[in-house]
Symmetry: C2
Subunit: 289 residues, 2 copies
Amino acid sequence: MKLDDVKNILIVGLGLLGGSYAKALTRNGFDVNVITLSQDDIDYAKAEGFIADGTTAVDPELIAKSQLIIFALYPHTFIEWIEQYGHLIKSGTVVTDVTGVKGCIVDKVQNMLPSGVEFISAHPMAGKETCGVRAADDSIFAKANYIVVPTNRNTPDGIRLCCDLGRALGFRDVSSLNTRQHDEMIAFLSQLTHCIAISLMCANGDPNLVRYTGDSFRDLTRIANINDEMWSELFLANREALLMEMDGYRDAFNRLYDTIKNNDRDAMREMMRLSSARRKTFNEGEKLI
Amino acid sequence: MKLDDVKNILIVGLGLLGGSYAKALTRNGFDVNVITLSQDDIDYAKAEGFIADGTTAVDPELIAKSQLIIFALYPHTFIEWIEQYGHLIKSGTVVTDVTGVKGCIVDKVQNMLPSGVEFISAHPMAGKETCGVRAADDSIFAKANYIVVPTNRNTPDGIRLCCDLGRALGFRDVSSLNTRQHDEMIAFLSQLTHCIAISLMCANGDPNLVRYTGDSFRDLTRIANINDEMWSELFLANREALLMEMDGYRDAFNRLYDTIKNNDRDAMREMMRLSSARRKTFNEGEKLI
């Protein structure tokens, strides 16, 4: 199946990401239905015109008629949903997700789904500090990356469809990693940065700081306003890789600390030059935005 | 003397900050002259129309006719300049600076200047990842804070003039701290954040990371591209306060690390909620921008 052949898309979980997917896909001409917990959210999205319809029930007919099903749930909710209702998904359906960690998800879901149902996992690296469907906004995809995470059980067709979905959603870049590569990358680039921001905010409670805050502190801590339910789950779901990246970062921080403590200006400047050189390689990417 | 009474301003050091000051002050109708190292920089600034004139010589006449002198030099260069040429500054002149650390500067400079010359220190908390007069841009002041750092040797008139200068430059907020408060605040809000960004960039050299980088990592590491000459000097000039803030941050990071290592989700979520609550208090400030 190609994405062009898909008419009916089902989104399970109408939150920030599910809603943002719905907006982009409805605009692209797909018939988007949802299954989600809150009737209120469905009413809102219908009134706003970015879903065709939705239900709070796990409706077997709706599931059967959907050619592509996108799960936009927390990791454990996703697993539980597949355990309970996975058998309702018909052979020939393609299933994908938005889960931010993969090692603890992908094999499990592929094992549970009925034969003939292909699960091709993906991670849209986009988000916001707010949550819920009312914050849905598919413009966040334009400067974000979409990572497809296939296993050896995926087909070229399934992988292609998932890549095309990323492009249809409007992501700036679509690429592919295996589960281990994905989880290590996400541990460093996303989870560690959130750990840093949280630690920095927890380190100093002086309420007067606000007045003197400049851009660097604001930029660094923007992500410190964090959905604790979701992120604590994501951290623990990727615990080994995250602890490894935290160790590596802590070593670098301690090295810098020692250069200051020892008045070792040469070693300090060497770290600064390495940091600057590496950071400049990221500027190219910024120009793409 | 009031800022309204000032006609002739001398800026010593025409770099990013000196140039940005010159742009704002020339637009405000002041007669701005400079003393700086490079004739090329003077020619550029004159051609661009944001200085009246300049010289690479330490011109006693120019110094004598200037009612307000602004030093935009590295800390040690500032001290050396005052040691060598401070005696040329006439009684009645007001002197200020842009130095990012204060404890090692303010008393020293106040002690060295001739009697009748008032040094009122200030820290414009604005910057860029680029340096030099060609990067000068006074629009960076609009969302930045200007901190006046008086001692008990400053006069109400001198403090007022310096505050008025911050407003004339277009800073969003003008406030006042003593040297110890200033240096502690700067250690946490500015220097520690730069230490974090440097450490993060030094922790992982995988060149493939660029492709997967999202906003949070880019925001966190923008300041990792750092002027190593200037910042190593600033770090060492504020060593005690910086090491103290680094210790506090490291403790918080280690606490978070342990919650993950121990699968202690409750403690982890508690840190995330504290972090979120504190970060929200900074959002008000963002709205002001």
